[in-house]
Amino acid sequence: MNDKLYKVLLFVTALLMPLVCGGIVYALVTDAYEAFEHFGFFHFITSQEWSYTDGNEQYGALPFITGTLMTTLLAFIFCIPFSLPVALFVGEYFKGTKVAAVLSTVTDLLAGIPSIIYGLWGFYTLRPLIMALNISTQGSGILTASLVLAIMIVPYAASLSAEFIKMVPNDLKEGAYSLGATRSEVIRKIVFPVAGSGIFSSYILAIGRALGETMTVTMLIGNTNNIPDSITSTGNSMASIIANQFGEASDLRFSSLIAIGLVLFLITAIINMIGKMMIKRARIS
């Protein structure tokens, strides 16, 4: 194969990426168009009506946008007290030791568990527990879904933050130690400020994961089309309403579900791009 042909071959395969991504956007936009045209974009994302009685179809995405934001935010809060210690354990306290390798294997395996199995575990173990503790009567809801989501994103946040914590230069830390600082003071005064932007960006990427998680949320959130009024009430996320209703939907409802898909796609794309950009910047500095 000569050089020219080789270059052309590589270029043509690389064209596949713009083609696939363009195809995704094109498919979503053309099929969402009907819903946006019928309801108007702004009205669609701010209306909370979701009824498919013939003749009076009303579709609005607000309950699902709220559901997604609530589950994601809660999952993010619940994941911090676990992912940050793991990151410190692997990246600072026990850096390079066997225990750290074991712990990072454990978190890698956690990341590998399929989301439907997380959903089963949440449904058959966590839900009865929440009912037994009298937190909510039906067991499923925003809280249950967020707890399992939090477990699912801990590995992503932890492994990436550990990477940034590892990169904190030793001479900075040694400088602080020589002035008499304890380890916890070094972590608070040196490691966090230096690795801070990297740690922050790894949490943004973890949030990106939680936003689009489908099966777990579908199995645990309770699947009601209202705006959740508390964290123990049931609801639906953007991904779970699609998973629940896409199979039976047609016409305007189909288009509305695609429109929700488009909104979800845009939100995750923006969050991921912000995260990736921040990571790049944190790596350079």
Partner: protein, 288 residues
């Protein structure tokens, strides 16, 4: 006074160490809780017939439950469907992913390569349910029906960015001298890539492919709207087909079949975790 302050600081330091250890240990609990539950509830369902027979109908399962017998049948339709769809997706995704990754590694400064790299990140972060509905629009609507082809397209789109990234990253950490030596010996770029760089990067790429497979094998959402599911063993690629995660989802929703959940989950979980461990082991071995 001064010693009291120091004691205070040392105590804080110790408390932090213990807190870090405690919460790190707690993070491992879900893994073992999930493994334990799936193992305990699923191990007695695993038998030869579980892997060779298709899913029973809800009626048959109901009869068996009434008679107090174990539910007959298994998940063979799902295993075969998963193998067919994953096989087709892998066969296409590996060469295209490797070529795409090679393009990114060869032209790190080109504007177009930067766009492709950006789009790879975008695709990797796209929720799987969206890949499912888009594949529905792409494939199911024009073909006027759910099919194994549609399912494999969805899996292909999910695998592609993972393989591109692992190829690119492995090629980039190869020593530059390797490529230069090949070129100095008179090989052209294509030959150096095929005979020197890709073989040297084989370990990393192979690990990446294993991880990509383990990532998509448990995917349910993209298959719900593409492969749909099928209750008997089928090899046709233009008809609806089942997959192991799809079966778990069906069992979850059908009270008569609920007992089968755990066997199927155990099979899927062990498969995924083993693939992960093998990939991790290989990565470590190739890095040395």
């Amino acid at each position: 006074m001064a010693t009291k302050k120091i004691k205070n600081r040392l105590a804080k330091d110790k408390a932090m160490l213990w807190a870090v250890c405690l919460f790190s240990a707690l993070t491992a609990v879900p893994l073992f809780a999930i493994l334990g539950e799936v193992l305990l509830r699923g191990y007695d369902q695993l038998s030869w017939s579980f892997f060779t027979e298709p899913t029973p109908t809800a009626y048959k399962a109901m009869k068996a439950i009434e008679a107090g017998e174990p539910i007959p049948g298994g998940i063979a339709n799902g295993i075969i469907g998963t193998m067919i769809m994953l096989g087709m997706a892998t066969i296409v995704a590996v060469p295209t992913g490797i070529l795409c990754g090679a393009f990114l590694a060869e032209n790190p400064k080109k504007r177009f390569a930067q766009i492709v790299s950006y789009l790879t990140d975008l695709l990797q972060g796209t929720p799987s349910v969206i890949i499912g509905i888009v594949t529905y629009i792409w494939v199911v609507v024009p073909m006027k029906g759910y099919s194994a082809i549609a399912g494999s397209v969805a899996l292909f789109v999910m695998m592609l960015p993972l393989i591109i990234r692992s190829t690119e990253e492995t090629l980039k950490i190869l020593p530059q001298s390797l490529k230069e030596a090949g070129l100095a010996l008179g090989g052209n770029r294509a030959r150096v890539m095929m005979k020197v760089q890709l073989p040297a990067a084989f370990g990393g790429i192979f690990t990446g492919v294993l991880l990509a497979i383990s990532r998509v094998i448990g995917e349910t959402a993209p298959l719900m709207f593409t492969a749909l599911g099928c209750s008997f063993i089928r090899f046709a690629i233009d008809k609806p087909i089942s997959a192991v995660p799809l079966l778990i989802w069906e069992f979850f929703n059908d009270p008569n079949l609920q007992e089968l959940i755990w066997g199927a989950s155990l099979f899927l979980l062990l498969f995924v975790l083993t693939l992960n461990l093998i990939a991790k082991y290989l990565a470590k071995k190739w890095n040395q």
